[in-house]
């Protein structure tokens, strides 16, 4: 075996199909979902991992949707990146695991993704926490 040459096995070859059919289909579906949001106040979303989604599709979506005004990062069981696209009402949400592995990638059509909204229970807890801090500073501080 000493004379065997190392061979180069290409681990990454072509993209799945080399077209952006899925991307086009997603854009059509987004149009419907956004209409439903505007007309009937119904939010919706698309799971990008459930589709045969190639680099060409991603590029098409990124170009067509563009960048919006909001970009947020949520830190809960690993990071989640939430950004509004250039089409208001369409949000690109990516959930990562604690090892930065993407777990789920969604296009959410909504006024505000639920993960950004403070849950009312948490707000209640926040209120009592704040009061406790005020109490502390009133009594201990100057």
């Amino acid at each position: 075996m000493s004379d065997s040459k190392p061979i180069d096995i290409p681990v990454l070859a072509l993209g799945p199909r080399g077209d952006d059919m899925t991307g086009r289909a997603i854009l059509r579906q987004l149009e419907e979902l956004l209409a439903a949001l505007v007309e009937r106040d119904e939010p919706g979303s698309i799971d990008l991992r459930s589709l045969p989604f190639g680099p060409e599709d991603r590029q098409l979506l990124e170009e067509a949707l563009g960048e919006g005004e909001v970009e947020a990062e949520v830190e809960s069981m690993g990071p989640s990146r939430v950004r509004e696209t250039g089409i208001p009402g369409i949000w690109w949400v990516t959930h990562y695991g604690s090892d930065q592995q993407p777990l789920a990638e969604l296009l959410e059509v909504t006024y505000c993704p639920e993960i950004l909204i403070t849950p009312s229970d948490a707000a209640k807890e926040g209120l009592s926490a704040l009061r406790a801090r005020l109490f502390e500073s009133d009594h201990m501080g100057r």
């Binding site: 061979i7 180069d8 096995i9 290409p10 681990v11 990454l12 070859a13 072509l14 993209g15 799945p16 199909r17 080399g18 919706g44 979303s45 698309i46 799971d47 991992r49 459930s50 045969p52 949520v74 809960s76 069981m77 690993g78 989640s80 959930h95 695991g97 604690s98 090892d99 592995q101 777990l103 789920a104 990638e105 969604l106 959410e108 639920e114 993960i115 849950p119 229970d121 948490a122």
Partner: protein, 352 residues
């Protein structure tokens, strides 16, 4: 502990409401459910009591457990397992010996009729089942006993699902799959040698979430992961369609990443999620690493001819001998037929 809901358990572990939403969204995505199912999952988990899981390992190589412990998504996965409480798994649990057996009996008693039984490995029937025994109890006996109180059974790996390698010709131990013994419980097969880690965790998560087995194909496999062939989701498929095939493992074609059909790839008749979910944190899968699919999630995969023989090649013993014998026999019969015709013709002309 046991009567807390899954949501309460997660909250007790410091998972916030947002974390929970994320958990539900990623679970829906993993289970290949529409995103709208996330809300349903959230609701169910808020109500479901923590189910109990007993994992039995029979005639197996521990590869399935090895694979499972390498599930990526550590956070989500460990949550699922913490939540479902693995009450008995003789490889993973700390207890051993009679303490371990006691744990199994206790878990069975505490959740009789409600626990999920996970099995890896096949069950030998030869020698009254004593080719494989745990703590003096044969696999056959232990399976019957434990299955009796189970709500559902999940077979992890091809051995438990279809008999796998222990059952391969000549099957010295008389190995059979779980379904050959247990007929009266819902059974989910999660075949693979081993199965993909997240497929294992997701199937358990599905049961946990909905309290019911997912939709299955005719071989008892969840359709969400075993719905397509490797071939139909393979990134090398364009090469198959273009007629570009690697003809050895280091030729031009192999270097260019062409289709591995001619090198024995069993992708066209194999249903599994390797081509989409992939292995090792989504890094790659066998075909992407240059080796054809061996069809490990299909029944009898070990006995379907060589892994390196093209799928369309014959699978019976000596092919050339079959054809040679047939040709010789046919020629002989033809010669006899011609000779007898000649004789008849001769008689006929003599009679004239």
């Amino acid at each position: 502990m046991r009567d807390k809901t899954v949501l309460e358990l997660l909250q007790a572990r410091g998972v916030s409401r947002r974390g929970f939403l994320k958990f539900c969204a990623t679970t829906a995505s993993l289970l290949a459910l529409p995103p709208s199912a996330a809300a349903a999952i959230a609701e169910t988990l808020g109500k479901t009591r923590r189910p109990s899981v007993i994992w039995l390992s029979f005639q197996e190589c521990t590869g399935c457990t090895e694979s499972l412990t390498r599930a990526h998504l550590p956070t989500i996965e460990s949550l699922i397992f913490d939540a479902i409480s693995l009450d008995y798994h003789h490889t993973l649990q700390a207890a051993s010996g009679s303490a371990a057996e006691a744990a199994r009996e206790e878990a069975m008693k505490a959740a009789w009729g409600q626990y999920v039984l996970v099995v890896d490995g096949s069950i030998p029937l030869g020698e009254q089942g004593y080719y494989s025994a745990i703590a003096g109890v044969s696999n056959l006996e232990m399976l019957k006993e434990t299955a009796a109180g189970a709500a559902a059974i999940i077979n992890m790996g091809t051995c438990a699902a279809y008999g796998g390698i222990p059952q391969a010709n000549p099957n010295p131990t008389g190995a059979v799959p779980v379904s050959a013994i247990i007929k009266d419980k819902p059974i989910v097969n999660v075949p693979g040698c081993p199965p993909i880690p997240v497929v294992m965790t997701s199937v358990v998560a599905h049961y946990l979430t909905f309290g019911a087995v997912p939709e299955l194909d005719h071989l008892g496999r969840p359709k969400s992961f075993y719905g397509d062939t490797i071939h139909d989701r393979c990134y090398r498929r364009p090469f198959y369609d273009q007629g570009k095939f690697a003809t050895s493992f280091d030729d031009e074609g192999a270097r260019n990443g062409w289709c591995l059909y001619q090198l024995g790839c069993k992708g066209p008749t194999t249903y599994n999620a390797c081509a989409t979910v992939k292995w090792n944190d989504g890094t790659s899968f066998p075909i992407q690493s240059g080796h054809g699919c061996i069809g490990c999630s299909e029944p009898n995969f070990w006995d379907k001819g060589s892994f390196y023989q093209p799928l369309s090649a014959g699978i019976w013993g000596d092919r050339q001998a079959t054809l040679g014998t047939a040709a010789v026999a046919g020629a002989a019969v033809g010669a006899v037929a011609a000779a007898s015709t000649r004789i008849r013709q001769q008689h006929a002309s003599e009679e004239k």
